[in-house]
Structure formats: structure tokens, C-alpha cells
């Protein structure tokens, strides 16, 4: 779909000031950095427990813009979307329609413990941006299985010989089924596409959902310097396609993947090292199925839906 979009505008100033508490090689700081560069400093971040909230608050607060702290609220685990909705209501009651209220939550807080809250906020179409940074397990607590962990992956609660035997929860389909104004998948390997989507989300009101894949060297077990490469391979192998969903039924594939074989993505990660060829084939066929469905939905998109 071709739309007339605003040229990309973002500040050259930095929002993350060291020292911060993220692990070496983590992809989340890049995501936060690009996100805030576009969204700006009129923002309140609601962070449930996860990798991000302790890392931007400890050892000292590291989200700072022009000498002022970016407002961060460390919410209970399942409550980021809920707090965000309430906060936005209060801002509107006090006449502030400008400040962006952002829930910044991991996959555990989104796919698992906070799903009811995310669904509730989406159903009410609360005017917030919900960002899910997805590192496919509870990485902050040391890599335990979440429902975002892919089939065949090992975690500390799925150690060998019992890798996860369930496929990753299709969160984008769940979110899209709420027919919210905007949902998109973002990758830390494609900054232009990333920031374009953030800017698009910023310009829309209502519930906006951004799903970012943030490769985790510690949990996925790959060398520290390969974060961007792993993120790129996830897109190019169709494991994590980049697409946008408007009003639940207008689906646009933002980047046509090269369609590399899934082995290329799997073999750089220690969590998949045990997989035999037939197991790799299982993952490949699941990825193919999901990609075919996505292409089909994109082709037969209906156009703007219920909120228009």
C-alpha cells in the first residue's frame, strides 16, 4: 500500500545517558533510543518489571533529555497497559492532549501476565502506544520460558532434553482481532523502517501496538556483536516479518523478506543448537504457514474498518 507519509523527523540528541543497566549486546537500548528520538520528550513511560525498567532506573536513571528525566513509572507486572489508560484519562481531564502515554513492556508482560490488560485497553481503544519488546523469554529473571518462546527453543525452564514443544503465541493476530487503529512489527536491524512506524503511530490516536523483536545475546546465546545480524536474519528468514495492520483488516507487508532458509537464523543461536534436521523442518514449515497466511491477508485486505 502506498500512503502519503510525512518525511521522517527525529532529534539528533540522545535520550539514553550512560551508565545504564542493560547487558552488553542488548537490543532494547537501540529500540528505546530510536523510539524516543521520534516520539520526543513529551512522553510518560510505564514500565512493568522486565529488562527495561530496572535497566533505565538502576544504577541511576538513564533516560534523560536536555538535563531532565524522562518520566518513568515502574508499574506492577500485569498492569502497564491499564496504568497507561488511567494516566491518559487523567491527562485529558486536565487538558493535556499532547503527552504520549507509552506502555513499554516485555513479552512476558504482554503475551502472558498482562494479556488481559492489553486486551482491555485495546478493546476500549485507550489512547496509548503499547510497545512490546520481545526477547522471547523472561530474560530479566534469567531466561525462563514465556509463551513468546518459539517451538524447539531451550530456556532455563525448558532445559534439554525438554525444549519447548509449543509454537510461539501469535500476538499480532490477537491484537489485530481487536481492530485497533494501528499495529506493527518492528526490527532493531532496520532503523528507518522502525522510526517510520513509530512516527506513524505517533500521528494516530487510539490504541497503537508496536511489536519489536529484541534479540538477547544472553538468553538466545549468540556472540555480543551479532544482535543486529540476528535481528536481520529473523526478518529475512520470515521468522519475524515486518508488517503493519490498520483497523484489524488492512495489512501491509512493510519489507519483502529474502526468504533465506531458517537454518541461517537458527545456527547462530545456542538455544537451538540441539535441533536435528527434521526438527528444523518443523520450524520451517510453521514459519512458511504463518508467512503464507500473512501474504494472503495482505492480498485480501478489506480496507479501513470499524473505527473510521
Amino acid at each position: 500500500m502506498t500512503t502519503t507519509e510525512m518525511p521522517l523527523r527525529y532529534t539528533k540528541e540522545e535520550y539514553i545517558q550512560p551508565p545504564h543497566g542493560f547487558c552488553p549486546g542488548c537490543s532494547i537500548p537501540s529500540a528505546l533510543r530510536w523510539f524516543l528520538k521520534v516520539v520526543g520528550d513529551k512522553v510518560i513511560l510505564l514500565m512493568p518489571p522486565g529488562c527495561a525498567s530496572p535497566s533505565v532506573l538502576f544504577p541511576k536513571r538513564s533516560l534523560i533529555y536536555q538535563g531532565r528525566y524522562i518520566k518513568v513509572v515502574a508499574t506492577p507486572f500485569g498492569s502497564a497497559a491499564i496504568f497507561a489508560g488511567g494516566l491518559k484519562s487523567a491527562l485529558i481531564a486536565r487538558g493535556d492532549t499532547e503527552t504520549q502515554v507509552v506502555a513499554w513492556a516485555g513479552d512476558g508482560a504482554t503475551f502472558d501476565i498482562g494479556l488481559a490488560g492489553v486486551s482491555g485497553a485495546a478493546e476500549r481503544n485507550d489512547d496509548i502506544i503499547y510497545v512490546c519488546y520481545d526477547n522471547e523469554a523472561y530474560q530479566n529473571t534469567g531466561n525462563q520460558r514465556s509463551s513468546a518462546t518459539p517451538w524447539g527453543g531451550t530456556t532455563t525452564t525448558n532445559p534439554l532434553p525438554n525444549p519447548k514443544m509449543e509454537h510461539k503465541k501469535d500476538i499480532m493476530s490477537i491484537i489485530a482481532a481487536h481492530r485497533i487503529p494501528y499495529a506493527a512489527t518492528l526490527s532493531t536491524a532496520y532503523p528507518d523502517d522502525f522510526m517510520r512506524k513509530v512516527q506513524k503511530a505517533k500521528g494516530i490516536s487510539g490504541f497503537r501496538f508496536l511489536h519489536i523483536l529484541t534479540p538477547c545475546p544472553a538468553g538466545w546465546r549468540f556472540p555480543l556483536e551479532l544482535g543486529v545480524k540476528v535481528a536481520r536474519l529473523a526478518v529475512e528468514t520470515k521468522v519475524f516479518p515486518l508488517f503493519e495492520v490498520e483497523y484489524g483488516d488492512t495489512i501491509t507487508i512493510a519489507k519483502e523478506p529474502k526468504g533465506l532458509p531458517i537454518e541461517e537464523y537458527l545456527r547462530v543461536q545456542g538455544r537451538y543448537r540441539h535441533l536435528a534436521q527434521e526438527q528444523i523442518n518443523v520450524l520451517q514449515s510453521e514459519v512458511n504457514k504463518r508467512w503464507d497466511r500473512l501474504q494472503y491477508l495482505a492480498k485480501y485486505s478489506l480496507g479501513k474498518g470499524c473505527f473510521v
Binding site: I44, L46, P54, L57, F58, K60, R61, Y69, K71, V72, V73, A74, T75, P76, G78, S79, I82, F83, A84, G85, G86, L87, K88, S89, A90, L91, A93, R94, A116, G117, S119, G120, E123, R124
Partner: protein
């Protein structure tokens, strides 16, 4: 304006008159009339704030917590399982010093399921840092909610206004609904820019780990914060007393945190909570007519625990009778624990008789209360921590059954 309304409607009117800007609640028996009535006010344009339906009690409290972080006045209501579902958020709201006011309609937890009155749901939240007030009548529910906003906003702590499920929530009584102008005089608009111990209240950025040097994980920082919270709680009582005094001056009604009824010359004092207090008053009158020197204490406030007031009225009495609708299984009644503790601070002995009664809505009748008082007068010393008052007949099968004191 005098109207005949239920306890739930009284809670809704109390909230309406306090003019919250964000109201959020999730239905649960026996509380559902509260969100229904408030959404009716909202639909009629009487409620200037916003009413939002949410997907759970956790969301109801979370939503108003988010709003309260921005410095607006908020209201929510729940009961029983719903309150338990909020438990995590209760701690969070108190820790963040948010003056949220919530009505809780008392009902026990399942299993087994029960929909009537029992105070265990709110008493189980006693360590969350929320103030707790218990009501005797529908008028008191309405008035307490208005008072609770004033107190909560002055001390910057959340407050729970508890009303008995079914016995008050569904009971219709005539209630004097005060004029908005008069309530406005008592309860000025919420302006959260004020000093609290430890610094200035700042919008949004007030989550305790973020103040005091941003030491998110430091044990010393956390302990310092709990010190401040405890100090705040300890200073609540004077605010509560003052708020009640000023309420009396404007509206002519008063609800002291620990109310004395015919206690002056009383040898035996009964302590009671909630709607059963009314029945107790009747029994005290009747026993007084028969020459017994008995009095009554109504525990209006439970958290922070008004220990000095409790000691002032109960210490040195010949006997104290506690009749309560809750039980900490394996221990005893919760009011019994707390009052006994308050009376033992300086090791003076006051005999306290703890009666557990009316669990899950069982009726605490005047006859039962009278039997409890007469039993106490006859007994030299309390023999057990739990005396079962109004328990249905049980088959005797072991030593506990043989030894337990049961009064029918």
C-alpha cells in the same frame, strides 16, 4: 434532600458528591449497584468526571492508580474476591502515596462460596497501608466517603470505606443527601501540589523507589521509605479526628474513629464493627434497663489502628467483649488480636473475651449478643481465644469439638 436508598446507592452518592474525575469499577455481588448507579449519574451528566468499564478488578484499581498518579481525584469499588484480585495494586497504591478512595462491600472469600457479609476480605488487606473505615448505617457510608477523600488527600494515603455486604449494601434506609455546595465547602478541589514528609508531591514521578536517590534496589532506601510510610500512618489519627470535627460543624453528624456508647460507668464493654453495632446498641439499652453496667465501643477505624483511643476507653475495664465477623483460622478473630495487643502494650491485664460470630452473613441477633455478654459476666477469666457465637450444632468427634466453647 432525604431519600430512601440502599447502602450501595449511598456509596455511589458519596462518590458523586466528592466529584471524582475518573471512576472505574468492575461488578461483583454484592457491590454491583455501585458501578451501576455511578454509570447512571454519568449517563445523566451528573458526574462531571469519566466513568470507565474495565475488564477486571485489577484493572479497576490499576486504571484509577494511573489516573491518581497524574493528580486527579478517583474512585473505585469492589468486594471480596475482587479485593483479593487487587491485592498487588493495593500495596502499590499505598507505597506510591496515592489518595485513592475505594468502597469495599464486605463478603468472604470462596471456597465455599458465600455472598453475604464477613469482614475477612478487607481485614486480609490490613498490611497494605490503606486506611480502613467500617460503617454502621447507610448515612454513615455516604458521609464516610466524603470524609475519606478529605483525609486521604491531606495525608496522601489511600482509604477503603467498608460496608457490610447484604446487611447494608442491599438494605434501604433514609439517607440525608447533602447539598453539593456544602460538600464543596468541606471538600475543596484536589490540588496535589503539596509537601509530604520527605519532599514535594510531584506529578507522576512519585513512585517511591524513584524518590530518595533513585535507589531502586537498595535495602536501605526501601527501609527508609517504609519508615516514612509508617510515620505517615502514625500521624493519620489527628487528621481523621479533625476531619470528623469539621464534618460535624457543617453537617451535624459525627463518626469518631472509636465511638463510645454508654461507656462512662461501664464494667463490661462490648466492641463491635459494622452493621451489627446497631443491634448491640439495642442490647446495651435493654441490659442497662435491667441494671447491668454495660457499654459499647464501635470500631469505626481499623487502619491505622487507633491504639491510643482503644486503650483510653478499654484499659482497666473489668471485662471486654469483642464480637466480630471474621476469623484468622488457627489463630482467632482479627479485631481480638489487635485490641488484645493494644491493651497489653504496658503489660496491664484486661480480660478480653473474643466471640467469633456472623461469619458468611450468619445473623448476629440481639439474643446472641445478650448471651455473649451474660456469659462474659459469669466467667471469671477468658478460657479460650475463640468463643463460637451462633455456630450451628456440630457432631462431637474429637477433643477440639469437646473443648470448644460454643454459644447458641
Amino acid at each position: 434532600m432525604i431519600k430512601v436508598i440502599t447502602g450501595n446507592e449511598a456509596a455511589a452518592y458519596g462518590a458523586l458528591l466528592s466529584q471524582p474525575e475518573v471512576v472505574c469499577a468492575y461488578p461483583i455481588t454484592p457491590q454491583s449497584q455501585i458501578p451501576e448507579k455511578i454509570s447512571e449519574f454519568y449517563a445523566q451528566g451528573l458526574l462531571k468526571g469519566k466513568f470507565i468499564n474495565v475488564e477486571s478488578e485489577m484493572a479497576a484499581l490499576g486504571y484509577v492508580t494511573g489516573a491518581s498518579l497524574c493528580g486527579v481525584r478517583v474512585f473505585t469499588a469492589t468486594s471480596s474476591q475482587g479485593l483479593a484480585w487487587m491485592h498487588e495494586g493495593l500495596h502499590w497504591a499505598a507505597g506510591a502515596r496515592l489518595p485513592i478512595v475505594m468502597a469495599n462491600v464486605n463478603r468472604p472469600f470462596g471456597a465455599p462460596w458465600n455472598l453475604t457479609c464477613d469482614h475477612i476480605d478487607s481485614l486480609a488487606q490490613r498490611d497494605t497501608g490503606w486506611m480502613q473505615f467500617y460503617c454502621e448505617s447507610n448515612q454513615e457510608i455516604l458521609d464516610t466517603i466524603i470524609q475519606a477523600y478529605r483525609i486521604a488527600e491531606q495525608v496522601s494515603l489511600p482509604a477503603m470505606v467498608c460496608l457490610d455486604g447484604v446487611y447494608l449494601s442491599y438494605l434501604s434506609e433514609s439517607v440525608n443527601i447533602p447539598d453539593q455546595a456544602k460538600v464543596d465547602e468541606y471538600l475543596p478541589p484536589y490540588d496535589p501540589q503539596f509537601e509530604i514528609p520527605g519532599g514535594t508531591w510531584k506529578l507522576v514521578d512519585i513512585h517511591p523507589p524513584m524518590k530518595g536517590g533513585y535507589d531502586l534496589f537498595s535495602p536501605t532506601g526501601f527501609m527508609g521509605d517504609r519508615y516514612e510510610l509508617h510515620k505517615l500512618e502514625s500521624r493519620c489519627l489527628e487528621t481523621v479526628v479533625k476531619a470528623d470535627k469539621e464534618f460535624y460543624e457543617l453537617f451535624g453528624r459525627s463518626y469518631p474513629p472509636v465511638e463510645e456508647y454508654k461507656c462512662d460507668d461501664a464494667d463490661v464493654v462490648v466492641v463491635c464493627v459494622g452493621s451489627a453495632v446497631g443491634t448491640c446498641r439495642h442490647v446495651i439499652n435493654s441490659l442497662r434497663n435491667r441494671g447491668q453496667k454495660v457499654g459499647l465501643v464501635k470500631m469505626k477505624m481499623f487502619r491505622p489502628f487507633p491504639k491510643d483511643l482503644v486503650r483510653k476507653v478499654l484499659l482497666g475495664r473489668r471485662k471486654v467483649v469483642i464480637i466480630e465477623r471474621d476469623l484468622s483460622p488457627g489463630q482467632c478473630g482479627i479485631f481480638f488480636q489487635e485490641i488484645k495487643w493494644a491493651l497489653n502494650i504496658d503489660y496491664k491485664f484486661t480480660p478480653v473475651y473474643g466471640f467469633v460470630s456472623g461469619l458468611g452473613g450468619a445473623d448476629i441477633t440481639a439474643t446472641l449478643i445478650e448471651k455473649a455478654i451474660l456469659y462474659t459476666i459469669e466467667q471469671e477469666l477468658p478460657e479460650q481465644e475463640v468463643i463460637w457465637l451462633g455456630l450451628e450444632e456440630k457432631k462431637i468427634s474429637d477433643d477440639y469439638d469437646r473443648n470448644a466453647i460454643k454459644i447458641h
